[in-house]
Chain length 200, copies 2
């Protein structure tokens, strides 16, 4: 009795089941969808994966994902170089860009402090942030971390660390539902939180 699929099918299912947010049933559905899909569509997916992995890097300045380092935002002469918005992940940069309320630069930490997951300050791009602030060009740092326990811990850590510097520290206005992920905030809510940001 065959209790697993033939090798290549099972391997395809297993590969998708390892991705975040996809359970075993979802992986099976995707696998069968691909097996029945147009060959070109399937090849396009495989190519998109390898191409992105080959082309995409992290910006040496801000840590955002990009195809060229420094990234287009860091290189853009129209952006306000006196303000840096600190976020956890590259996707948060995109969320804030969508509000069209922000003209400064970014700094992507690559996560948040999370003792449960063994992520401490030294695992985040904090030294790079300090180095950027030492240039003296920056007058404000906006902390735009996720409004959850880890984000709050990171905001607290950063405000203590950056407090001695002569830089205005602000954070996104409350208004974001607590316990949620920044990426799920709609553009209007996030835009208002940005406009009404308060000093720490």
């Amino acid at each position: 009795m065959a209790l697993a699929y033939d090798g290549a099918i099972q391997q395809l299912i297993d590969s998708f089941a390892r991705l975040p947010g996809i359970g075993p049933k979802g992986a099976q559905r995707i696998a069968f969808y691909l097996l029945g899909a147009d060959a070109q569509e399937v090849q396009d997916l495989a190519d998109a994966i390898t191409t992105a992995k080959a082309k995409v890097r992290f910006c040496e300045i801000c840590g955002n994902v990009c195809e060229t380092s420094p990234c287009p935002i860091c290189e853009d002469p129209r952006r306000d170089r006196a303000v840096i918005c600190v976020v956890e992940e590259p996707k948060d940069v995109m969320s804030i860009e969508r509000t069209r309320e922000y003209r400064g630069l970014y700094h992507v930490l690559g996560g948040a402090i999370n003792p449960m997951a063994n992520i401490g300050p030294s695992d985040l791009r904090i030294p790079n942030l300090l180095k950027r602030l030492k240039s003296g060009e920056v007058t404000e740092v906006i902390m735009a971390l996720d409004p959850n326990i880890e984000g709050e811990a990171t905001t607290t850590y950063l405000s203590r660390l950056l407090g001695p510097l002569e830089i205005k520290l602000t954070r996104l206005a409350s208004g974001l539902p607590v316990g949620s992920d920044l990426e799920y905030a709609d553009e209007i809510t996030l835009g208002r939180a940005l406009t009404g940001r308060s000093e720490v």
Copy 2:
């Protein structure tokens, strides 16, 4: 202001967003997961996709997915060749195999009759089923379609079509929650439904 990601990243997100069960947010999460993942893991996923698509075909007899046609089930001399279990999709074969209650063969229709989606009897592997039944070897056909409107319509259509033949027609016992997909039934429920199958 960058309102879309750099080309390769956006293309990766879009490719995943096209897959069933993955929304735009889920696609973004997967894309960033892959961009941060080990290069080998990412290559393995791309390879699993292309390998499966290249290797996997549909069994010329039963329509199940397999790497060799006829498939291992159709070729297995220990299976009872007098019974054919008709299912909608290859994943349903796996669901029934997992019950360990069934020793016969399968016939995968490739879907169910669904006028709303423009899927009629001619879009399903029904002629191939009739051809298999004409050999005279088969004494029972078990209809194991999804217990929803489309599955019921297909069961009704098949019972009328196969009625004139000298073959016992059965269907899975009720007990499966109506309106659900067969693939979500747990193994015990599905096993009991199979054991207690009734004549149509």
